[in-house]
């Protein structure tokens, strides 16, 4: 039986959680360990930490953060952002991350996925995909660098390829919806879920609890990821789960 996961996403830079719509408007939102513990207490099923600067000189800071989280929080968590090599993945997993997510580097060098899967198993290897609907409406295109760089690559084909290479989970973000609070791109989510047999996490566009429900019931996602509705205190994870449960989606009770 499928049990949908609710996954708060925390953007981090220099070992701190930050929030903001743009890089310019970043605001310090607190200590990663404290926030992670709070979400755990509210019933979060997993956490995703995205290192949004991910320059090589703050790698050590991120590893320290991962270690601190792993010492205190006993739910699974994924670390993404700037995982460019097998060595990067290794250092995050050794520090205590359960999974790493790869995005730009995997598109540029898809072997990275097979390397991580071969050494650590497919369950460690999340392929994050930022997709945007093509102007002509025919499918979706993969974008890199946080949605700034077009690739010409078809998102559905890339996701299928990534899974063939060993990705054990897809973290799918709609660039059209990200930050809009209009809800997930359901057609995109459905198309990706139909294309692969690994779990798919829907991301981008959550503005209401109803959207979380739709990601699962209409999109077919195994989990739903959201940031702002949780960070700014609009809703707790427990409220999200109550809404999902009320709509007939099976979740772990908060």
């Amino acid at each position: 039986m499928n049990v949908a996961r609710v996954i708060p996403c925390l953007d981090v830079t220099n070992g701190r959680v930050v929030t903001g719509v743009t890089f310019v408007g970043l605001r310090d939102a607190g200590d990663p360990v404290e926030l992670a513990a709070r979400y755990d207490a509210e019933g979060a099923d997993e956490l995703v930490f995205l290192d949004i600067t991910a320059s090589s000189d703050n790698r050590r800071t991120t590893i320290d953060m991962v270690e601190r989280v792993a010492n205190e929080v006993f739910i699974p968590f994924t670390v993404g952002g700037g995982i460019r090599t097998l060595e990067d993945a290794r250092s995050m997993l050794r520090a205590g991350a359960d999974k790493v997510s790869v995005n730009t580097s995997a598109v540029q060098r898809p072997e990275l996925i097979s390397e991580i899967a071969a050494e650590f198993g497919v369950q460690c290897c999340v392929c994050a995909v930022d997709a945007k609907r093509r102007v002509d409406g025919r499918g979706w295109e993969v974008f890199l660098h946080g949605g700034r760089t077009p690739t010409g690559i078809d998102a559905i084909e890339w996701v299928a390829d990534a899974v063939r290479r060993g990705a054990g989970e897809i973290l799918l973000t709609s660039m059209d919806r990200d930050g809009t609070r209009e809800g997930f791109d359901i057609a995109l989510t459905r198309a990706v879920c139909d294309a692969v047999n690994v779990p798919v996490i829907a991301s981008g566009g959550v503005g209401t609890l109803r959207h979380l429900v739709e990601g699962v019931t209409l999109g077919g996602a195994s989990g739903v990821l959201a940031a702002s509705i949780f960070h700014f205190g609009e809703h707790t994870v427990a409220e999200a789960k109550a809404a999902m449960s009320g709509a007939g989606v099976r979740v772990r009770p908060a």
Partner: protein
């Protein structure tokens, strides 16, 4: 009361430190080690595991720990296998048929039928089939976190103490004497998981 010494076998694969950290949290003096002497001195032994069956068996053997595991199990001290650490206790796995397992529990590890998404990467409810000290004080249906594409099929069904439902009924916990093993990750299963590890640690206390 001194904290029981729990040896967490370190054969250099993936994220093994999470199990050690969680055991420390519930009161054990848990140490990641491949030192046979320390394992002999320990009150309990934990065999964690993530990744592929064959890679884990290779790494375990490469670290010289196969005989250490057998000795620990024969010593009748509490022994806990986690995830692939559970699967390795069986005779072998369809994931890597060329590798033999540890043969401590008769049976094989087979793929979850592909009528469902794999891996099972989610929280799921345990269906407890037989009373076990591992579940002392837990809710009737504990929630725990699974990540696996393969599951054990013990030759003797009476070793199964808990299952979960994921398209079909999957083995979640087995017990054979002093050996207990979980397909899920107690170290990643929040309150219920920590309680399960706490019960294991308590069983290590009573061996002294």
């Amino acid at each position: 009361m001194t904290a029981p010494l729990v040896a967490v076998l370190d054969y250099g694969i993936g994220n093994l430190s999470s199990a050690q950290k969680a055991l420390v949290r519930v009161g054990a003096d848990a140490r990641l080690t491949r030192d046979a002497g320390l394992v002999v001195d320990a009150d309990g032994v934990v065999l964690p595991g993530v990744g592929a069956f064959g890679a884990c068996m290779d790494a375990l053997r490469g670290a010289g720990l196969e005989s250490v595991v057998h000795a620990a199990v024969e010593s009748s001290r509490p022994f806990l296998g986690i995830c692939v650490g559970m699967q390795m206790l069986f005779d072998g796995s369809d994931e890597d048929p060329s590798h033999s397992g540890l043969g401590l529990i008769p049976g094989r590890v087979t793929a979850i039928p592909d009528t469902v998404r794999r891996p099972q990467m989610q929280w799921n409810e345990l269906c407890v089939r037989a009373a076990d000290s591992l579940f002392a004080g837990l809710p009737a249906t504990p929630w725990v976190y699974f990540v696996h594409s393969y599951a054990a099929r013990p030759a003797d069904p009476s070793v199964v103490v808990a299952t979960c439902d994921y398209g079909s009924e999957l083995t979640a916990v087995v017990r054979r004497g002093n050996v207990v093993a979980t397909q899920f990750h107690p170290e990643k299963s929040a309150t219920d998981g920590l309680a399960i590890l706490g019960n294991f640690v308590n069983s290590c206390r009573s061996t002294r």
